[in-house]
Symmetry: C2
Subunit: 384 residues, 2 copies
């Protein structure tokens, strides 16, 4: 268990560039400068500028503490509205314009405090301002702790889909403070759980067993040892995959388990709060299991039942009640066809041989996907 | 001398990613598909999409030929207005939106045909669309042949300055067809000559001597052996520096010789056609020589005279007649202070010990810079 008084980072050692540290612990928010200086993001001087990005929700809960922690430094603060709308071209342009007019230079440190939206927007801006500024992520949602803050994917959304414009750009440091999860709405914890479950399902049966025993603690006690264990475990797992395949030409695609289904659903609901990304991922993992069973890929006949039993034990079956009566299979299929993993007209999806044994299934028959969607809509999204 | 029937690329072998080939020759424009397939940018199939970008000037001269060369392929063509105005956030967004709505995937090949503006815009878009698409540059100006198409810098401009937002992103192939230079206005050839001269001044006295003998041929006969020799020579020189320092943490900064002065002047003229970038670079190199002499850095007492004699022999002293009566030293200094090479409040400039011996001069005294500008304005930009 990490000791917050002298935290030791999990390191991502990239051969060809700076390494990236991930700190997992509690009570980090008030100690940002010393953690940044100790763990490789460079010395902060009163002269060196800091571009501080957070959203209105972070401002409400932690703005004063963050500002106090950084009060001795030359901070350019930029606050954006909470929500997916801030992952837009116009928000990116506003952030870049603000930073440049405030006189940033190549040593300016970008600190992005928030969930996936802030990490993606702040990371993208850091990667293109003066062709690249040093970057520290301070994730404040479970989803960002275990997934989006790690691995260097940045993005904004386009009219034709989510995360279609962005870069691969590694932060110098990720500071994951579990105390910031205490203020999270329960739905946001559930959403983060979707990504935690994903790691277990990809290649880690023992971690799935751990979740069967500890998932409830994780969901109910955000600032707990169970949470920090899960965050550190997921961070190591993601680091391992990212180091093998930084720019997603191979194994990194496994991290998209459940995501093709999830993106199609999120798109159908206009990326609104009706369905959070991580909630959609939970649904997507169940649908990937069904697809695998239906195609005869799943070697474990209990695959789907083991998964749904686990979700039911956490009251996550379904993770959120949605009304699917206005959805059409054709639209969901059309969104899936635009997935970044596809090449040309073929569907590439992540399938499961068993819980903990995922693989890239190329040229998936469209009829099989249609059948999965048809049943999902027939059950009105209940996953029954 | 390259043989256009079986051209051999100059290769940039990056350790950690794909290598980039540079083809120098003549008559390439009609043979784009075979050159692309032969030299590492992948097989073109009727299914694979091509995102083709050029500007209205290229369209006038070469649009029909390019479209014919690519007629068998699945081309998404995007034409932007000629000129610096296309290096904007809105032009980038329009290009990305167009590409995404046309259904690009990760194999889509971006082909950018044009000068620095098109290379910078197209390269930037290629680097962020779906987090990175393969890219081929087809430069059509001398400046792009010898400089901007090589080395992977991409950018758009911001309100506070030029090239302040962008990425480092290597193309797979650069196809430098000297026949495309035949349609270039003379001022554009002069502008390209500024960057050619820059390489000689940085670290290549023999190449400066070559220019003393062949500069006139280069300027007057764009589609000649002299041009192709200079282009290949400069491409090798730039490749050498970029391989040592891709992301400009050290030696690559030398390629900015003359550029801090140049950017200040270009900014003063609003980046208009009054003063082209390469013309400003020629002025900037002379001012860097003066600064070096004035600071006692120049070991060769004839440094400035040798340079200005050479320019006078080509009728490039000054490279363009500009009226500097509306310019103010304070404004020029303020623009220089925002240069990307600076860190904090210090001026870092590229200085010359001799022609062919440039170095990064840190913490340049502002008074020395002011004195250089004051004399320049007193001569009304005549460089006398």
């Amino acid at each position: 268990m990490p000791d917050s008084s002298a935290p030791q980072p999990i390191w991502l050692d990239f051969k060809d560039k700076h390494r990236c540290g991930i700190l997992v612990g509690s009570g980090f928010l008030d100690r940002l400068p010393v953690l940044i200086e100790t763990h490789g993001a460079g010395v902060l001087t009163p002269e060196r500028k800091v571009l501080l990005l957070y959203d209105s929700a972070v401002e409400t809960h932690y703005g004063a503490r963050i500002d106090t922690a950084l009060r001795a430094y030359n901070v350019i603060k930029h606050v954006v509205p909470a929500g997916e709308g801030s992952k837009s071209f116009s928000a990116l342009e506003a952030l870049c314009t603000r930073a440049l007019s405030a006189g940033i230079d190549r040593k300016t440190l970008v600190i992005a405090v928030g969930g996936g939206v802030i990490g993606d927007l702040g990371g993208f801006a850091a990667s293109i301002l003066l062709r690249g500024l040093p970057l520290v992520h301070v994730p404040t949602t479970l989803l960002a702790h275990v997934d989006s803050a790690i691995g260097g994917k940045t993005a904004i959304n386009a009219a034709s889909g989510k995360n279609l414009i962005g870069t691969f750009y590694q932060p110098h440091l990720v500071i994951a403070d579990s105390a910031t999860l205490a203020s999270l709405p329960r739905r946001q914890m559930i959403a983060g759980y979707g990504e935690v479950l994903k790691y277990a399902c990809i290649n880690d049966p023992p971690f799935f067993q751990w979740l069967q025993h500890n998932g409830k603690s994780l969901l109910n006690e955000p600032n707990s040892d169970a949470t920090r264990y899960a965050v550190a475990h997921c961070a190591r797992k993601k680091a391992d995959i990212v180091l093998q395949d930084e720019t997603e030409h191979g194994v990194r695609a496994l991290l998209n388990l459940g995501h093709s289904f999830a993106h199609a659903l999120e798109s159908a609901y206009g990326y609104s709060d009706t369905l959070l990304h991580g909630e959609a991922v939970i649904i997507g993992i169940v649908l990937a299991a069904r697809l695998s069973r239906q195609l005869g890929i799943a070697q474990d006949p209990q695959l789907e039942k083991t998964l749904t039993d686990h979700l039911a034990s956490l009251d996550l079956l379904p993770p959120v009640a949605i009304d699917t009566s206005a959805l059409r299979v054709d639209d969901l299929m059309a969104t899936m066809a635009r997935d970044k993993k596809n090449v040309g007209a073929h569907f590439n999806v992540i399938a499961l041989r068993a819980i903990g044994d995922a693989f890239i299934y190329k040229n998936c028959p469209p009829e099989a996907l249609r059948a999965v969607w048809t049943r999902f809509l027939a059950s009105n999204g209940s996953l029954s």
